[in-house]
Amino acid sequence: MKGSFLWRNRVVFTTGLLLLIALHFLSTGVRPEARANKPSLVLMEAVKPLLVVESQMADDASDFLHNYFDLVSVHQENLRLEQQVAQLEGQQRRMVELEAENRHLADLLELRDALDTTAIAANVIGSDATGLSRTLMLSEGDRQGLRRDMAVISINGVVGKLIAVSHDAARVLLVSDHNSALDAFDQRSRARGIVAGVVEDGLAMKYVDRSEDIKPGDMIVTSGLDGIFPRGLLVGTVARVSKERPGLFLNVEVKAAVDFRELEQVMILTTRVPAPSVQNNG
């Protein structure tokens, strides 16, 4: 049988038969549901587990990709938000700074109104770098109406006087400089003296008679006799009084009312203050 013509050409006969069967199916044209359903249903059932697994894998892959892209965009969003936060923090710091400056200027305005004089506010833009003299640079100059020997004060007290003025800047000689001299008196005892800076640091009230009554804690204020500072501006408080050195006068150490290292805004009194009439101490 194996050697027979049919067996030798079994592939040809089989394919021919299959072609006939396929043509027969086609020639019937319509797809009767009864004939088509069973094989398709069986095939559907057989393939269903594979389709379920494939669908699950496709969903997992899709979720993974979406999560990855979401993470990337979240990371970028994170960077953007961090930058924004840094910007906002910077703005907030500037606002806090502006608020503080505003408060200082408001206090200076209040002081000007209390003194009943004309004044110009200025920012401190520098100090003496050498440390040999105690001076400050201001942001205003003669274009804004400043002149030499004008008084410079702050809300806490006397700062100094202008010693040099250019178009848009001015230099202040602080009261703590050893070249400075300020006529002042003890507000409690009315003892008079000259307040000057000392080389080491701080202020000293000179030429106070040994008999005068000055105690630590007394407030030292301007007398107004120099024609530069109005009367009654706080210079400082007495820190120490000693009679150790021989001579006619007391050694009075004064602690300045103003912290010159932390000055940011000052006021320059542009109206010259008339010196009060001299009164006898009684």
Partner: protein, 138 residues
């Protein structure tokens, strides 16, 4: 989309030309008909013809290499798609075939490109189960 079923039919016809594999090609076509909802027998017929074509190639050529297989797949896809269109539309609007051809050619090219890989996989599978291949592809 590459026609993997057709690649298998060509592989069966070229490298495993037996009555059983002819039946398998027919069954694959029938399964495609059952799932795709076209007229029953359409893909069964076309895949059987492709199988016969691949079988004929394996008989006339001394060595049925992979390159021959790739060409057979290309021709088979074109034949199958055109035949599918013509028979489904009742052999009438052959004048609209030129609209279909670009897509058919692209599918044929994509399927042909995939052929060597599929042949490799089926070759491994055949060797694993101990099947002897006709017309070894080098």
């Amino acid at each position: 989309m590459p026609d993997l079923v057709l690649i298998l039919a060509v592989d069966l016809g070229m490298r495993h030309p037996r009555a059983l594999t002819a039946l398998m090609a027919f069954a694959m076509g029938y399964a495609v008909d059952a799932f795709s909802g076209v007229e029953l027998g359409l893909n069964a017929l076309l895949l059987t013809v492709v199988f016969i074509f691949a079988y004929w190639l394996s008989r006339v050529l001394i060595s049925a290499s992979t390159a021959v297989g790739v060409m057979a797949v290309f021709v088979g896809v074109v034949f199958s798609d055109v035949g599918n269109y013509l028979i489904s539309s009742g052999l009438a609007p052959a004048d609209r075939l030129h609209v279909l051809m670009p897509a058919v050619l692209i599918q044929a090219a994509v399927t042909a490109l995939l052929t060597p890989s599929v042949f490799q996989i089926t070759g491994w599978g055949a060797r694993m189960v101990g099947l002897r291949m006709h017309g070894a592809s080098r």
